[in-house]
């Protein structure tokens, strides 16, 4: 493999004297010495400590109210009713009353939560057709086979949106009412739009192109998912632009959760009017629930969550505590290392040995 160069003479085949070929490239050879490692450990411990404390203080300022409504209040009735599949079409509403002792200041976010619902099963996650949801006409009428068995309805019509994910959409609806200490009950206004990822709403989900056709006409020849009460173009009767594949609730549901217990955004408090300009005031609240989603099949629970946010999101105690614990451990290790180094390894071994 010795490279034969054009030159001749006794050194014709001598390898080049380049730093690379002679393995003499200038290089930095770091070593784990006490003077570098120990200060680094203390610094790490300090940084983690500061971050932990800061995060903890931040988290303390958030508030969160969780309300499991699976069987709470009058919902036990509906819970029972939903046990029977034959009652699926019947409407059932119930009410849950809860107090807010301390006002939730600032933006208040309203989530619904599900427990023990596996959106992360492989076949479940595959059971969707993104090409259909981005508005491709061919896929609209001819959905991906991954959607099986939610690809076509019993009449052979293609389902839009197809697949298990869309089919199992969470279809409880909530209205929140405030009962102030004085005065009448006021419905709490919730913004139900603009609560998705920007790319989801504007790129990932598109309705099929309709030249002067209504959505209903566009979706003609498709069937609604089997478990749905309404077709996809009638998801939001109040806002015609929030229908079809770009319906916010659908989009949010279609973003599958990574874990079996999850919450999804339902709405954001609309703070334009009194008394909600500063958030949710203290007092009693009721939630009227249109109780449609059955959870008893899979031993699930349903909840609503009300929370305020900080710069790094909702209430999340794990992160600051984890930082504090890590910081303590690093500090402990650093101290041990220092002691060990001081007592045993300080002088190092002599080379002559």
């Amino acid at each position: 493999m010795g490279k034969v160069k054009g030159k001749s003479g006794p050194l014709a085949r001598r390898p080049d004297n380049s730093a690379f070929k002679q393995q003499r490239l200038p290089a930095w050879s770091p070593m784990l010495t006490a003077t570098t490692v120990l200060p680094f450990f203390y610094l790490m411990a300090l940084i983690c400590m500061l971050l932990g404390v800061w995060l903890l203080l931040t988290v303390q300022s958030t508030q969160e109210i969780k309300l499991d409504y699976t069987e709470a209040g009058t919902c036990d009735m509906c819970f029972e009713k939903r046990k029977n599949v034959s009652n699926a079409a019947q409407i059932c509403t119930c009410t849950v009353v809860f107090p807010i002792k301390k006002a939730l200041k600032g933006d208040v976010f309203f989530y619904y939560g599900l427990q023990n619902f596996h959106q992360n099963l492989r076949r479940y996650m595959d059971s969707r057709d993104d090409a259909q949801m981005v508005g491709r006409k061919t896929n609209l009428k001819n959905p991906s086979s991954y959607c099986e068995p939610f690809m076509k309805d019993p009449n052979g019509l293609p389902i839009a949106p197809c697949g298990a994910v869309a089919n199992s959409i969470f279809n409880d609806t909530f209205t929140l009412t405030y009962h102030g200490s004085s005065g009448p009950s006021i419905p709490v206004p919730l913004l139900r739009k603009g609560i998705t990822w920007y790319t989801d709403k504007n790129v990932k989900y598109r309705n099929p192109k309709n030249d002067n056709m209504t959505l209903a006409q566009v979706f003609e020849g498709t069937a609604r998912p089997l478990y749905w009460q309404k077709p996809v173009y009638e998801l939001d009767l109040l806002d015609p632009t929030n229908n079809g594949f770009i319906n916010d609730d659908l989009i949010i549901w279609m973003r599958e959760a990574a874990f079996p217990n999850f919450k999804k955004l339902y709405g954001v408090l609309y703070r334009a009017k009194q008394p909600f300009t500063k958030g949710l005031p203290a007092g009693n609240y009721t939630i009227n629930i249109s109780y449609n989603f059955p959870v008893q099949y899979f031993r699930g629970r349903k909840e609503v969550v009300l929370t305020t946010l900080t710069w790094f999101g909702g209430q999340n105690h794990f992160l600051p505590i984890a930082y504090l614990v890590t910081s303590c451990l690093i500090l402990l290790i650093a101290i041990i290392l220092t002691v060990v180094w001081w007592k045993f390894g300080k002088n190092g071994k002599r080379l002559e040995e």
Partner: protein, 1087 residues
């Protein structure tokens, strides 16, 4: 065309019809493996014979089954296709060049005698039985029987460099009856038939008979011109094609050598098997989990997600889930492992080739790694088996001393003799210092004259006289050249030879001797003789050979002279010189006639020809008169003692295996510091019988133990049961050396004594085996391989070292004076013994270190990567959902993490090269296999699994409750996937940064570049453009952006990285601080 096993080959000259019956191979050679049509299928077929490739093909097939496919097919096919196509491109280029050279060779022109006239034909159209004409400096087209030549006596000269690497000219002679067939017309009528052995690969042997005009003529190798030779000094010659194309000895010899594997390779294969076992275990655990989950939970979830049609119960689902998990978890053994290992080794080989400090400027030879797969084993060598001549010594012989008729002539004066006034033909480079010898020649001492006459006649040297008086000798061995040159300078100038005559100039007077017979040299006879008739008609036999054989064959009246000469010989040998004894015998005409008859008989014998010839030679080489002895000096190579000292400090045991006599070998042992005066004892074993050898070994063993004192004692004979070879005598005090003779070694290597021999020999610091045959050299190597489980290295320069070089783990060839056969058989070659220390202590050590670090890191990063899926299984109902985006899985090993670890594997250095030579002890970790073994492997795996736990559970715990600052929950799958993947890439990058001990620019570029590449590619894959084209394939659109803008995500990544790295850092610091390896200490002091 492949003939059934031929018993013999029959070829009739000028008779194509007759020869075609046998369907002999044509002269068209095809070393290429493929053509355009067969390339793809054949190459793929070959590649899929590799177990790894087949395994990945199997995975690919699994992935095509929709019920199982947990990953898109391209996660496997992209790396697989990459690997296959890289190999295919390499194979294709190699084959293209083979095609080119085949074409070039097949289309060479040769002159074929067809129907009485010479016609130009391409080589490939030459048939067996054709007569072809060769001209000077042409390549021989096929294996030919020499019929006639333009030179007298049907002689011709050839150079066999391409065949066996020997660059001296050899002479070939046609059978006398055919040499008369000078011109094409006669040759066209030649219809002799040759019956000979079937094609074989023995270059120095040919056995056949020519039948012509009802007579039989014996054919030997002396009559053959083999393909690959070049015709020299001969105007033209004619030959009959006996073997063509693939049947020629050249092609028969081009078989592939045995494929060597390193111990790391073997360990890696074992570990990969273990990992497969681990994979299956994981698969089973997860499948059981799936069964339980499907029964307990999944069955309740049926209304949302019914089972796929073929699945009707949870057991079947679990079965499918097993395969799905096999697919997902297969990345613990990624396809890129094998490719990366090869790339790293190739890089190391280039560094060996490029090393200026292993370049010999005298002979313009750089070191060459001829095998690219053994580099890391160079860092683990424990035993070196070295040839002496040409390896430890220069193999440049100079005539140094001689003893003539009981008088010794040695170097006494420092005045170099000037021969020119005395002899115009003298070689000016020749040095001799004793002028009494010259005086003795000048006064015409008979013995001195006979002595030099013998030297000028008894040899096989060829001479070349370009112009009058300008003589060049071409000798097969440097010893012969030195002797003939000595004779030349002392007035007995060998001028030229023909098969029947030798012309010399004796004291200025030209003399032509008739050469009656040459009794050739071989390793068993250890002597050669010539029988010549001088111009006066007197017949004389001149013999030179090893003293042991020659002194036995002297006339009894020589007793006194023999004693004196023996003393001289011992004296010379003690000075480390190579000695030969010379003798002659006057023969009467009758004696000659009688012997020549018996010789002819033996020569014509069809069976056991060689044995009978040897017997005939034995018969005449009797009752000889001793003339004297010669001593030739073979100087030690530069730096040999220093190299040996350094290597023994590195705990490498050096055994010298030489064909020289004991005294010479011992002396060289002393001069190269293998044996020292400080040694407690040097044992010599030279028994001739099994009993005496056993006894000698026993006494060695006793004295070893006697001084050892206390502790574990070596079991001494009679060993029943024999001592285990592991019985290392580490508590023997004092240094011992063992010298064993070839004939004793033959007994010691027998099954019942070998363990005893091994344990005794290994207790000694130095072992010298003298008078050994090539086969014994190989046997000794095999013995150590068998009993010591140690890495062996054999180094040699001659054809007699080939067997040893091939049987050792690593063979090193010294490209020196004795042809290139050893180099051709070797794995590494260079031209100076002293380069061995750099090869082992620098290149070998680095290669081993780099390979070990590479493997540790590689297994670590893949376990960290893959085991996350395992933990996720517990949360996703064991449904074989992957944690990462499929593109990440595809690219993780081939793009995101491959280059930094490759850079480390190629460039890393723990200590600079001068330090490894200064502190040879640094070599020890390799011998003890400390850097990568099963324990280290488990540590890496454990670290990988720990990392995977952190990688999964930290993001899981943080993200399941966290939301974006806009309130959108972060617990969606895509965010989780991006977060985990990013954390993984960052953690393994930090880890490689910790592992890298030598940060060159390239390392920086690769580490930072890989990180940059990760983010770039991720953003590209999550871009709107790709999504708009393939919505189903790129459904992660926007995830990268949305995730990486969140402070929580970065806090998570930082936390996970800290948790992963801090324990490693602490652990390493403690290791360096409390139990520093020598390399750590040296490194610290180097800074």
């Amino acid at each position: 065309v492949f003939c059934p096993q031929q018993e013999e080959r029959r070829v009739r000259a000028n008779d194509r019809e007759y020869n075609e019956k046998f369907q002999y191979a044509s002269n068209c050679i095809m070393t290429s493996k493929y053509n355009i049509v067969t390339f793809l299928p054949v190459n793929l077929f070959e590649q899929f014979q590799e177990v790894a490739n087949t395994y990945f093909l199997f995975l690919l097939i699994l992935q095509l089954i929709p019920q199982i496919s947990s990953l898109s097919w391209f996660t496997t096919i992209v790396p697989l296709a990459l690997v296959l196509s890289i190999t295919a491109v390499k194979d294709a280029t190699d084959d293209y060049f083979r095609h080119k050279s085949d074409n070039q060779v097949n289309n060479r022109q040769s002159q074929v005698l067809i129907r009485g006239s010479l016609q130009n034909e391409k080589w490939m159209n030459v048939r067996v039985g054709d007569i072809i004409k060769l001209e000077n400096n042409q390549f021989v087209a096929a294996d030919l029987l020499l019929l006639s030549s333009s030179e007298p006596h049907g002689l011709c000269y050839i150079e066999t460099a391409e065949l066996d690497g020997e660059s001296n000219m050899k002479v070939r002679q046609s059978v006398s009856v055919t040499s008369a067939l000078g011109d094409p017309n006669n040759l066209a009528l030649f219809d002799g038939e040759v019956v000979c052995e079937p094609p074989n690969n023995k270059l120095d042997r040919f056995c056949g008979t020519l039948y012509w005009r009802d007579k039989k003529y014996t054919l030997t190798n002396q009559n053959m011109l083999l393909r690959g030779c070049v015709l020299r000094n001969t105007e033209a010659c004619y030959g009959l094609v006996i073997f063509a194309g693939p049947d020629t000895k050249l092609m028969q010899n081009s078989g592939r050598t045995k494929f060597k594997r390193t111990s790391i390779d073997r360990l890696m294969n074992t570990l990969v098997l273990w990992i497969f076992g681990f994979l299956v275990c994981m698969g089973v655990i997860l499948a059981v989990g799936n069964a339980v989950w499907e029964r307990e939970v999944g069955s309740l979830f049926q209304s949302y997600l019914p089972w796929d049609p073929p699945v009707d119960n949870f057991l079947f689902s679990a079965f499918l889930s097993f395969w799905s998990y096999v697919i997902i978890l297969n990345t613990v053994v990624p396809i890129s492992l094998y490719v990366s290992v090869e790339v790293i080794r190739l890089g190391h080989s280039y560094f060996i080739n490029w090393d200026q400090q292993m370049f010999c400027s005298q002979c313009n030879t750089p070191a060459e790694a001829r095998t690219t797969t053994l580099n890391e084993e160079l860092g683990q060598v424990e035993y070196i088996f070295s040839d002496k001549t040409g390896t430890l010594t220069q193999n440049i012989m100079s005539f140094n001393k001689c003893s003539i008729n009981g008088k010794t002539y040695v170097k006494m004066y420092f005045q170099r003799l000037d021969f020119t006034p005395f002899n115009p033909l003298a070689d000016p480079n020749f040095c001799f210092y004793d002028d009494t010898l010259l005086e003795s020649v000048k006064v015409g001492d008979t013995h001195t004259h006979k002595f030099f006459r013998l030297l000028s006649l008894c040899h096989t040297v060829m001479s070349e006289e370009k112009s009058e008086g300008e003589l060049f000798y071409k000798a097969q061995s440097p010893d012969e050249g030195a002797l003939v040159t000595a004779a030349r300078n002392f007035g007995f100038v060998f001028r030229s030879r023909t098969p029947g005559t030798i012309t010399t100039t004796e004291m200025g007077r030209p003399v032509t001797y008739t050469l009656l017979a040459i009794l050739d040299f071989n390793n068993i006879r250890k002597r050669m003789s010539v029988i010549v008739r001088n111009p006066e008609g007197r017949i004389c036999l001149y013999c030179k050979g090893a003293d042991t054989v020659l002194l036995e064959r002297l006339h009894p009246c020589n007793q006194e002279l023999m004693n004196i000469t023996s003393d001289h010989l011992n004296e010379y040998a003690a000075d480390g010189l190579r000695t030969l004894a010379l003798a002659y015998r006057d023969l009467s005409e009758d004696e000659w006639e009688a012997w020549s008859e018996s010789h002819r008989c033996a020569d014509k014998a069809a069976s056991c020809r060689e044995d009978r010839l040897a017997a005939a030679y034995e018969q005449i080489e009797q009752d000889m008169m001793l003339l004297g002895a010669t001593a030739i000096e073979d100087k030690l190579q530069e730096g040999v003692p220093e190299t040996i000292a350094v290597l023994s400090l590195a705990n490498i045991k050096i055994w010298v295996l030489t064909g020289d006599k004991q005294e010479t070998a011992v002396n060289i042992g002393y001069s190269c510091k293998m044996l020292t005066d400080d040694m407690t004892e040097v044992f010599i074993i030279s028994g001739h019988t099994v009993q005496s050898v056993r006894q000698e070994l026993g006494s060695v063993c006793l004295s070893l133990n006697g001084t050892g004192g206390g502790g574990k004692q070596l079991q001494c004979p009679p060993p029943s049961p024999p001592p285990p070879p592991s019985n290392l005598m580490d508590n023997i005090s004092g240094e011992f050396a063992l010298v064993i003779n070839g004939h004793s070694l033959a007994h010691a290597l027998e099954a019942d004594m070998e363990t005893e021999f091994v344990s005794t020999a290994c207790a000694c610091k130095a072992v010298i085996c003298c008078r050994v045959t090539p086969l014994q050299k190989a046997q000794v190597v095999e013995l150590i391989k068998k009993h010591k489980k140690a890495v062996t290295l054999a180094i040699g320069d001659g054809a007699n070292d080939v067997s040893m070089i091939k049987s050792a783990h690593i063979g090193v060839g010294i490209s020196g004076q004795e042809g290139i056969q050893a180099v051709l058989a070797s794995d590494y070659s260079f031209s100076q013994f002293r380069f061995l220390q750099r090869l082992l202590l620098v290149h070998g050590r680095w290669s081993y270190l780099r390979m070990c670090r590479f493997l540790c890191y590689f297994f670590y990063k893949n376990f960290a990567f893959t085991m996350v899926h395992f933990w996720f299984g517990f949360f996703c109902g064991f449904s074989a959902q992957t944690v990462y985006d499929q593109y990440f899985i595809t690219l993780y090993n081939i793009v995101y993490t491959s280059l930094p670890v490759l850079a480390m594997g190629i460039f890393d250095q723990d200590v600079p090269d001068q330090r490894s030579l200064e502190y040879p002890k640094l070599y020890e970790p390799g011998q003890l296999n400390l850097l990568f073994n099963k324990r280290e492997f488990f540590i890496c795996i454990a670290q990988g699994i720990y990392t995977s736990v952190v990688l999964f559970f930290v993001p899981c715990a943080v993200l399941s409750n966290a939301t974006q600052s806009t309130g959108v929950p972060l617990a969606d799958y895509q965010t989780f996937a991006v977060t985990t993947a990013t954390t993984l890439v960052i953690v393994v990058s930090v880890q490689i940064a910790l592992d890298t001990g030598f940060w060159t620019v390239i390392n920086h570029v690769f580490v930072w570049g890989s990180l940059g590449l990760y983010f770039t590619i991720m953003f590209a894959l999550h871009s709107q453009t790709l999504f708009k084209i393939f919505p189903n394939q790129f459904h992660f659109v926007g995830s990268a952006q949305s995730t990486l803008l969140q402070p929580v995500v970065w806090l998570t990544i930082a936390l996970a990285t800290a948790i992963c790295i801090v324990p490693v850092l602490a652990f390493r610091f403690l290791k360096v601080d409390l139990k520093p390896q020598l390399s750590d200490t040296v490194r610290k002091h180097t800074r």
